[in-house]
Symmetry: D3
Subunit: 188 residues, 6 copies
């Protein structure tokens, strides 16, 4: 059971949120969860957990993003990456339906017309696996060619509706994945 | 490294292929693999590993399908289901690009205009996790409202091209998932 | 989330129930579960999964037992044995409260005044770990010095109430164990 | 094989002992172990690993406790919590026998007549899972309604005897749990 | 703790011994173990668990072998293969010391002067991982160029001494491997 | 697939290299790897991850060593120790062939004529298991009776050849271990 929550207050994502039990400490959500919030994104180079980015001297910035932060209390990081890909896939599927345009997924990134819509990372804590997934709403100052949900025509309310829908879709998909595992017999 | 192979000879899928080391025994592929082949699909009730279907007295039939059979030498069935969902997602993404129409994914099923395009199952063997994913090419006699790749306009050659492309896409996605797991540091 | 269910119809336990997905196949409970039922117990030597008993030429018999059958969709058998011990402990704690007498636990067995009240086993299936725990209600023909819930003064209704209470207690304990794992940070 | 040791010298528990390889570094016990010692308990808020307590601004204090510190070289925290519950259960069973009064277990806490007798936590280190379990001997200054082994009538020697007995019982139970896992065949 | 045992009575190895809990069922050894015995080796094609051999139509035969059968109650087959390689390595090291000649290891095989001295396989059961390792004593009828311990000059007593020494060395190495894992702290 | 690399520039090993993703951060090797380099070894007491050494007040020093640093993206430390033993075994086998003298392995140490040739440790990071294995080339100032590859007659070029050969042998052995796990069926 993945619990879901949308935080109404804006919150800047600076990488510190990618710490175990963040949702428990701030929202008292105990167990697997995915939460969403709006706010700027500014992860300095030294806070990057993606060492490929870190080594390239990159940083992550967006003036306004829709953030998703998921935590699963298990320890297999590769499995966490698989969950992350499904989260990104669900975002793509929902956005295509809402916007009526093609959204391209490459690994854990979304693009619209070759412009980067999102950032994402999955990593491991001593007690869990965590995923951050952020979609640009606005793109001033983003260090790569980017596109945002706002420019794509989503109103503030529509961004929030999308968030709610993705939260529910992710929780439902994860539940269904678990149930799929609980209905098959083994084979030789 | 997921190895890929397309079997040129037609082969009826009857559920027996969902057995450990099938690709090793028949193709000498040793290690993780995904293979594709064409042929009818006929899984009798007693051979179903999906007990939900089994209990419903269901059977699986299609006169002509494009089959994918994947094997990963690991033991976490839920992780296998996550891989399966990505395989189905990739099929959807590629088909949408080829056909220019919307393909709807619900869990591990694909639909076009509410008609069922595919069947899929993931299960566990004593030494591995396995996935079967079959897409209708023709649909005479399929026991549910169904659609096939042929009716959607794919020629024989196009079906084969699609197969080759999905094999490559799945292998690439799985490789990338692994690499994503090998570039992040842990967080507290 | 461990689902619970009490089967009203009597059912003889002969060891066949210790098979993966029993609760799904018979009750459509999908996911972790514990179910209870009343009925005789007759496990012939060749059906014993406890090889220590099997080698001793033992069999398990009781004319009337209260049975519990739990399934957890995970693969660590030792962890299943730990869960089993807690199930037996909870039965002891509840019975002591109901009966006001001392119930002695030795491993996975319960005794009252040196007489055996219960049998239990935990084992592994290709997709799950399973526990059987049976408490004698009557003891005619039991091959060891035994005592039953009936002789201890529990009426038919009281046996059922005990069953309901133990089902709930086990589900609650397992939930709490999970939550306890979801509230601590790691240490160096 | 869980090794056991009683440390004769008093030792204040301040949370630092909940660190991997404590028993190896201080007692040269290599491998799974449980050690006991007497001493005050003072865990400041910032040293709490239970974030539920931490968030409540709680601290843990007792002027005199009997402490148990267990370490298992494995990584499944939920399994560690299951072991912890059995440790607490064993303490309850032994105390009831020694004292002839009812000791109530709620999760990982023990109570006598609604007063709290113990504190406990299980967590994970990079190389192991650890359990702390402390039973009040005296209760002056304990921040919740509490009871101690001294007030319950245990002499200094009796506290030590209880410690020795619980150490042995825990090691025996863990051994038996392992052996139970090594005597069953799998089922379908 | 790996228990060791040498079975004095001759016993033909036909592959049936590679079944979970063999040492428990026949010797009442409960837990990880390695046992040794002397006897012919005849594994028919259909009993081969090595599908590479099976597919080649191979069978395994030797008129007289020294057999080792190890069982570890864990589920990671690759880890079992690593243990197997160390068992084979220890055999090589001890034989070189006893015989004063070079013994060549290639994977899980031993050779003397290009002649095959041994056969070995590791596989998984529902409850454990198992290893068979057999060294030729005599070689009449062996289907590949082979050499035996007898031809290398080992007397009956020396074969038995070697067996005893390898049993002890394997148990010691496995214990030391475990202890090595119980003395290091984690790193970032 | 274990990637291999020989770093031409000398590099002092001070324990900091035993950190996750070292090869990725310095060489952009992504995934399992083993790298070799030459240089002094100086691990101060406080940097020791082997707490047995640490507690003995030991430090590790050599003026010139051939170092191997392996990383596997998995989390079972005991499995890492098994891999380490095979790495040390391979070094022994290759050196014996090159030098024509007996090299003695005791656990993870190599000796020539009772003199210590090597040091080694395996430990765990948040995302991987790592192995350091260093062989003395020169021995001035080594705090225990020691021998070096130089004194054993290996020229600079021969040391490098040995390094290259061990890198390849380790990668090949690990690949073969994996393949051995991918060719067997399970047994009951």
């Amino acid at each position: 059971m993945v619990q879901t929550f949308f935080i109404e207050e804006p919150l800047t994502y600076d990488g510190q949120q990618l710490t175990s039990l963040w949702a428990f400490r701030h929202l008292r959500l105990q167990g697997d969860s995915i939460v969403a919030f709006r706010g700027a994104c500014h992860v300095r180079q030294e806070a990057l957990v993606d060492l490929a980015d870190h080594l390239d001297g990159a940083f992550i910035y967006s003036p306004d993003m829709l953030h998703f932060l998921a935590e699963h209390f298990e320890s297999d990081l590769e499995k966490g990456v698989l969950r992350q890909r499904l989260l990104v896939t669900l975002a793509k599927e929902i956005l295509e339906e809402i916007l009526g345009i093609a959204v391209k997924r490459r690994g854990d990134d979304l693009f619209v017309a070759q412009k980067k819509l999102s950032v994402s990372i999955a990593t491991v804590t001593p007690v869990s696996v965590m995923i951050h997934f952020g979609l640009n709403v606005k793109t001033e100052g983003v260090p790569v060619p980017a596109v945002g949900l706002g420019e794509l025509g989503l109103s503030e309310g529509a961004v929030r509706d999308f968030a709610t829908r993705l939260l529910a879709a992710y929780a439902a998909e994860m539940k269904e994945v678990w149930l799929a595992r609980c209905k098959v017999r083994g084979v030789p």
